[in-house]
């Protein structure tokens, strides 16, 4: 049993690609070893900015020997067939045997394959890893033809304590496998001779390289938290930034810097965006949750008092330059009222085939006004005003420089212009919800504008037939549809979606393309199914309700799904479902035989058995109850009405023979069951429900 250690040492790997690359490296080896029939103990991959490493332990030194028998043609087969067989197994006529089989005399070859040394396979897999690692973007360098994420500089490959004999052919240069690596680029650049993984990890740690990403993250978090605590502050959680920063350093060293007081009047969203996206700094807050005038930068150097001061001062100066730009924008953007900027949106593209942003805003304004009527407590004039101003901040210098704060800046500028607070809030919130975990607006005006923005987008792109296909959704239409679903459902809006789509479509006027929005509702149905499934609702229940068709009121649809799911979980529901299946199986079979359906009215005079009379009565009562309950949209009551059918239906099946000899009785009974089926079908398609 032996250990394999591989290190692909390169120039700096982009942070965002590192975690995936480590997983891919491991997968390539695990798959390759499995395909070669080699068992192993465990495999772990590691990644730092300059290295991808893999350790696999408990590997055998060679594959097991294999013995394989192959049957060839008949012994008296034509010369050519026999020669072909001998060629395929690489043996001579004398080396294969003849065997009697029930089908005659056949040639048999026994091929003994001795297992290959594991070392050979590892060399091949190492070459394959360099070749096949699926980087999002890769490059060539110098005169080489081999691509890699950035220039590959060295390959360490040790198996069972010995350097593997092999090399990576880059096309021009060749990288011979070694047992050497290097530590931190500046703090420990000398070569390190490595024995095994344990030695590798330990020597790297002495050479200012923390191999394990998780360890780097823990160290950053621990030290940054301590630095913050020393000032009575708290680190603002930012797992995405932590991931990225852990990929920018081999020896993380958090340091704290100060933001000039003059910049603290800039909106905190701008400060954090500037610090985060441009400088990769962590933001801090005080005990009241207010953004503090401190930041944390994670350097890639060891602690050293003088150097720390230099690094902090340098970073503070960079931030000062960035924020002085932001402050300039903050001051000058407010010179022109937001409302005066709407005209300039004519120069901002929405989408070429769908016109400019100014057109979009005009449509959104009408649509928000229209939607306001279906939203409790929504002032339609405020909704229209907010929609009119919603995109105006796209023409401000601040949003041009920091696109992440679109909407938020609009809110600040609207407040500055003394627009009503509901309008300002709606401008900030109209892009929400941007994902399943994003907060969903609840203020009436915000809801109207958020819906108008998304519905306009969806209707436009569906009208010009640029719908999402497979994994391609360049305009994030799926996210927009989910946004609409969440806005409607979470705010319990009674909105006939098809009517809204038609209205939104009419606002576009003429467009090149099929121009229809008929596919939009089914697209919503699919999105809703995904959404509900993620919330743990059974997909067959969703299907059972969707199968009814024509429903575009999501709130009503969900109420039905919920009542149904409660009903089928109950004892009555479960048993009624069994009886329903029995009834529909019988009816379906007889319909097939007769080539006709049994939808005619039940003739009470031909009901002979007590049980069928009782069922007929129960059905009439249930039908009346159902009709009333459905009219009131009281789906629980509708389910209750159905529940009353359970006992009579069970009794019917126990005591009545459907296929009676008398055709009149038989047809009447089949009609009775058909009516049961259609009554239940008013509530849901029970046929879709799985057992």
């Amino acid at each position: 049993m032996a250990e394999f250690l591989l290190e692909l040492f390169s120039e700096e790997i982009p942070a965002r690609m590192q975690a995936r690359a480590a997983a891919d490296l491991k997968r390539i080896f695990v798959d390759g070893l499995q395909a070669a029939g080699l068992d192993f103990g465990s495999a772990h991959a590691f990644v730092t900015p300059r290295r991808l490493a893999l350790v696999i332990d408990e590997l055998p030194l060679a594959q097991a020997d294999r013995r394989e028998e192959k049957r060839g043609p008949r012994a008296d087969a034509p010369e050519k067939a026999i020669a072909g067989f001998l060629g395929s197994v690489g043996l001579s006529r004398a080396q294969v045997e003849e065997r009697d089989t029930p089908k005659g005399l056949f040639l048999f070859a026994v091929v003994e394959q001795s297992g290959r040394p594991t070392a050979d396979l590892l060399v091949e897999l190492s070459e394959r890893a360099v070749r096949d690692l699926p980087w999002p973007k890769s490059q060539r360098w110098a005169r080489n033809t081999q691509r890699y994420v950035r220039p590959l500089q060295a390959v360490l490959a040790i198996f069972d304590g010995v350097t593997l004999t092999g090399e990576i052919d880059l096309g021009d240069w060749r990288l011979r496998f070694t047992d050497e690596t290097r530590g931190h680029r500046f703090l420990a650049p000398e070569p390190l001779k490595i024995q095994n993984f344990k030695d590798y990890q330990a020597q790297l740690a002495d050479a200012y390289v923390i191999l394990d990403r998780a360890d780097r993250k823990a160290r950053i978090l621990e030290q940054a938290t301590a630095l913050a605590a020393a000032e009575g502050l708290r680190l603002i959680d930012d797992p995405g930034l932590l991931d990225e920063v852990a990929g920018l350093v081999e020896w993380p060293h958090p340091l704290m810097g100060t933001i000039d007081a003059a910049f603290m009047e800039i909106p905190p969203e701008v400060l954090t965006t500037s610090m985060r996206s441009h400088q990769k700094y962590f933001a801090l807050e005080d005990s009241a949750g207010k953004l503090a005038n401190r930041f944390i930068v994670v350097a890639n150097m060891a602690a050293d008092a003088d150097r720390d001061q230099t690094i902090i001062a340098g970073n503070e100066r960079v931030l000062r330059a960035r924020l002085s730009d932001a402050k300039f924008f903050w001051d000058t953007d407010r010179d022109a009222p937001l409302a005066s900027r709407v005209a300039a949106l004519g120069n901002v593209t929405f989408y070429e085939k769908l016109g400019g942003m100014a057109d979009k805003v005009t449509r959104m304004t009408d649509l928000a006004d229209y939607l306001a009527r279906s939203i409790d407590g929504c002032d339609h004039a405020l909704a229209a005003r907010a929609a009119h101003l919603a995109k105006a901040d796209l023409t401000t210098a601040m949003v041009y420089e920091f696109p992440e704060v679109q909407g938020i800046m609009g809110q600040y500028y609207a407040r500055h212009d003394a627009e009503p607070e509901a309008v300002a809030a709606a401008i900030a919130e109209h892009y929400a919800p941007a994902g399943p975990s994003d907060d969903c607006p609840t203020a009436p005006v915000s809801i109207a504008v958020a819906l108008a923005d998304k519905i306009d987008l969806l209707v436009g792109f569906f009208a010009i037939d640029e719908k999402p296909t497979g994994s391609k959704d360049p305009f994030a239409l799926r996210r927009a549809a989910l946004g609409v679903i969440r806005l409607v459902v979470e705010n319990q809006l009674r909105l006939p979606l098809q009517t809204v789509f038609d209205h939104a479509r009419s606002l576009y006027g003429d467009l090149t393309g099929p121009g229809a929005t008929a596919d939009l509702l089914p697209f919503f149905a699919d999105r809703l199914k995904v959404h509900l499934r993620e919330q743990g609702v059974r997909h067959d229940l969703i299907q059972a309700v969707f199968a009814l068709g024509g429903e575009d009121d999501l709130v009503r649809l969900l109420a039905r799904v919920e009542a149904l799911s409660r009903f089928v979980a109950s004892d009555d529901g479960e048993n009624l479902l069994i009886a329903f299946r029995r009834a529909s199986n019988i009816v379906a079979a007889e319909e097939k035989k007769a080539g006709d359906s049994f939808t005619g009215a039940v003739d009470p005079s031909h009901l002979t058995e007590t049980a069928e009379k009782a069922l007929h009565q129960a059905l009439s009562a249930a039908d009346t109850g159902l009709t009333a309950a459905l009219k009131d949209e009281d789906f629980a009551a509708a389910m209750l009405a159905l529940a009353a059918l359970r006992a009579p239906l069970d009794a019917f099946f126990e005591n009545v023979i459907v296929n009676a000899d008398d055709p009149t009785l038989r047809i009447n009974r089949l009609r009775l069951l058909t009516h049961i089926r259609s009554a239940m079908g008013k509530v849901a398609d029970f046929g879709e429900i799985e057992g």
């Binding site: 700096e12 942070a15 965002r16 060539r140 005169r143 950035r150 920018l248 003088d306 330059a321 730009d325």
Partner: protein
């Protein structure tokens, strides 16, 4: 002066012109051809034919370095912003094929100008470079020194839509920013230009360029005659196409016209007369010129080689 310590005498001078001289001397020592700026208005050092065209051919080995004044009309701030200029200097290095120790060579240049990596926090942060007007792209990093982007480091993959083979590495130093960092000043206009004390006629950056920034900002944003610019753009485009189509193709003068068109587009952009949709179309037109020049340049190189061999 006689009392200067060893450390002082080896520390490089920090004024702006010395920064340029030090970088030139360093890259000359690495075997680079030291060129002078190209004598036309360009948006970046990459536009210099020594980079754009030489990245493609005909030499198998091409190492050069030069300063290039660069003009970005939209970045003008009338001399009021301490960090933004419509005219600034880039120091550009191109090495083809990219040396095995490209990063080490680059770090050596930082040391030469007084940025010892052991005294700072130097990092290579992913930044893929693309020039839509040149039809060029590459992968690499921005190099950060204590959080400040001091250099763009790029392995060219394509120029003028043509695959680079061999692959060059391009280093672009933003000289003003680097000098501000080294001199520890917060405004570009306070940069010491020549190391001469003020009372002996020494100049700071603002003495030389502040007036120019105001004048050119005024011109670029307000005064430049857009009809003339539009006409000149069309003229340059037509001239470029005509030169490329000539029976004796002359890619170098054609490329001059391409650079002209590119700068005229930048001026039109600053004047705010190009809408978002038109913008893409203009960029596409300049890219077509760049592509044509690069193709013609590569073809001319091949012809010359065949003549030499035949």
């Amino acid at each position: 002066m006689a009392t200067a310590t060893t450390a002082d005498s080896t520390a490089p001078a920090r004024d702006f012109q010395s920064l340029i001289l030090t970088l030139q001397a360093y890259w000359a020592r690495q075997g680079c051809v030291i060129l002078q700026p190209y004598d036309m208005e360009v948006g970046a050092g990459t536009f210099h034919p020594a980079t754009t065209l030489r990245a493609l051919g005909p030499d198998e080995i091409w190492n050069c370095a030069y300063v290039q004044p660069s003009r970005r009309p939209t970045d003008g701030r009338y001399g009021e912003n301490p960090n933004r200029l419509q005219h600034y200097y880039q120091f550009q290095v191109l090495m083809k094929p990219s040396p095995v120790d490209s990063q080490e060579l680059y770090l050596g240049s930082l040391k030469a100008i007084g940025l010892d990596p052991m005294q700072h926090d130097i990092r290579f942060v992913e930044d893929d470079w693309e020039s839509p007007t040149l039809g060029a792209w590459g992968l690499g990093w921005e190099v950060w020194c204590d959080g400040m982007e001091v250099t763009q480091f790029t392995y060219f993959q394509q120029v003028g839509g043509i695959e680079c083979d061999p692959v060059p590495v391009e280093l672009t130093y933003g000289l003003e920013r680097l000098a501000m960092f080294i001199q520890n000043v917060d405004s570009v206009y306070d940069l010491d230009w020549d190391g001469v004390p003020k009372d002996q006629g020494g100049k700071v950056y603002g003495d030389i360029f502040k007036q120019a920034e105001w004048q050119f900002s005024t011109h670029n944003f307000e005064l430049a005659d857009t009809d003339t610019l539009l006409r000149q753009f069309d003229d340059a485009e037509r001239a470029c196409h005509a030169l490329l189509a000539h029976s004796r193709p002359v890619p170098l003068p054609a490329y001059d016209q391409c650079m002209k068109a590119s700068h005229l587009f930048n001026l039109l952009d600053a004047r705010g007369v190009i809408s978002v949709t038109e913008r893409q179309a203009y960029i596409g037109r300049v890219r077509a010129l760049a592509r044509g020049c690069c193709e013609s340049w590569v073809a001319a190189g091949k012809d010359a080689q065949e003549q030499a061999n035949g």
